[in-house]
Symmetry: C2
Subunit: 264 residues, 2 copies
Amino acid sequence: MQYSISLIGAGNVAWHLAQALENAGHQIREVYSRRVQQAEGLANKLYDAQVVATLDFSGSAATVFLLCVPDDALTAVVEQIILPDNEAILCHTSGTQPGEILLGYPNTGVFYPLQTFSKSRRLDVSTTPFCIEASNSQTEKILVEIAQSISQTVYLVSAQERKVLHIGAVFACNFTNHLLAIAKEILDREDLEFDLLKPLIKETFEKALTAPDPNLVQTGPAARGDYQTLQSHLAYLQDQRNKKAIYESVTENILQMAGKKKNE
Amino acid sequence: MQYSISLIGAGNVAWHLAQALENAGHQIREVYSRRVQQAEGLANKLYDAQVVATLDFSGSAATVFLLCVPDDALTAVVEQIILPDNEAILCHTSGTQPGEILLGYPNTGVFYPLQTFSKSRRLDVSTTPFCIEASNSQTEKILVEIAQSISQTVYLVSAQERKVLHIGAVFACNFTNHLLAIAKEILDREDLEFDLLKPLIKETFEKALTAPDPNLVQTGPAARGDYQTLQSHLAYLQDQRNKKAIYESVTENILQMAGKKKNE
């Protein structure tokens, strides 16, 4: 079934979802953003979406309202929303916020795409896992149906599971990105090009993602229990306090997982 | 020019280099391994390489001897090697060991492929950067020539630069792999499939490697200065001491790089 959907927020998430939803046959009715220009930019990409300047949707023909605003703006935005009627569904797209943040409306849910979105990068939404949670079974049915119309991978995920997925994503994505940034800094200090490491980084990730468990393909001085190299690296990082702290904490854990240490 | 090369070691590195070297027209004369079966397995893949059982190469027709043994075996192996004559070149392939470990021979060098090798994975050696260091200019010329015959990217790299590249690689590859292993562990504890995170991980890495600097595309609660989420994640990790220590040290550094904290 096709749904009439309005978007609250016109950032990276809204940008990618809106186009995927239209391609799946849904109609985007309205686009709201605090920054009107952003709403206009997005609406221009869509068939007949209207830019709206307030969060009063009492006259809207949409049945699903998708919140795509940053976590820290969510509560303030929700307080201002007026839905057209009691049948309307209000859902957010956040990995961290509980569904309860939408309380006060009868049909609410979470429509969380487990992906990182940038306007400047094309992305295949169909391979993005969607995590759905809803306040009642009819809402759940509709949100699952919409998610399945744009993605091959749709899961019912409780708030607790969503939190754990988010913590996993922080390690697997935010932290790994930061380690790549640190590696670049380390090379920059010696005027070495970060490009030199890129083939190795690519192969590392492909290997980790095709292995049954990344731990099975762990390499490096800590995995080998090569304390001489570890000491020499720590000595080099001596004047870079934070990098040294990261080196120590990650190394400690690799040593333990590799069975090179006995404590814990 | 084509060279006659003998391989000391028949592990992952020797496996990939031997075939690339043969494809480039060089002749692999001998393969030595402590584990004779490994040497036989590799020699069987090559045109007319002989398996040898000792490190006495006094009768060898090879001019370049490539050490592909684990770091911790290197010194012991080097002590036993007898080269055919004073013209022969002895080089190792280690990212961590100094060239001086080969002292005692007149023509020595380092022939370090900045890549992670597994026998079970096909790998395009031509995109692997090779870091070359040599004890004299004639040896350097020959090692660069051999490296360029199998790779598009060949750099002259000092021992200090090689060490820094290796530290960068530890952060960018060994540590990132470990963070992926941690993410899988975190999901496993709640019976969530690691596959759910894979599209996000892939996109994260592609984004980081195409950005001018991974730091410019850093996302997540620490980059946003979202202390509420950070606290909630740390509370969840409370009984997983090592993961919590990693979470704290990496978060601390992201907060500082993002300008969300003022100290250091």
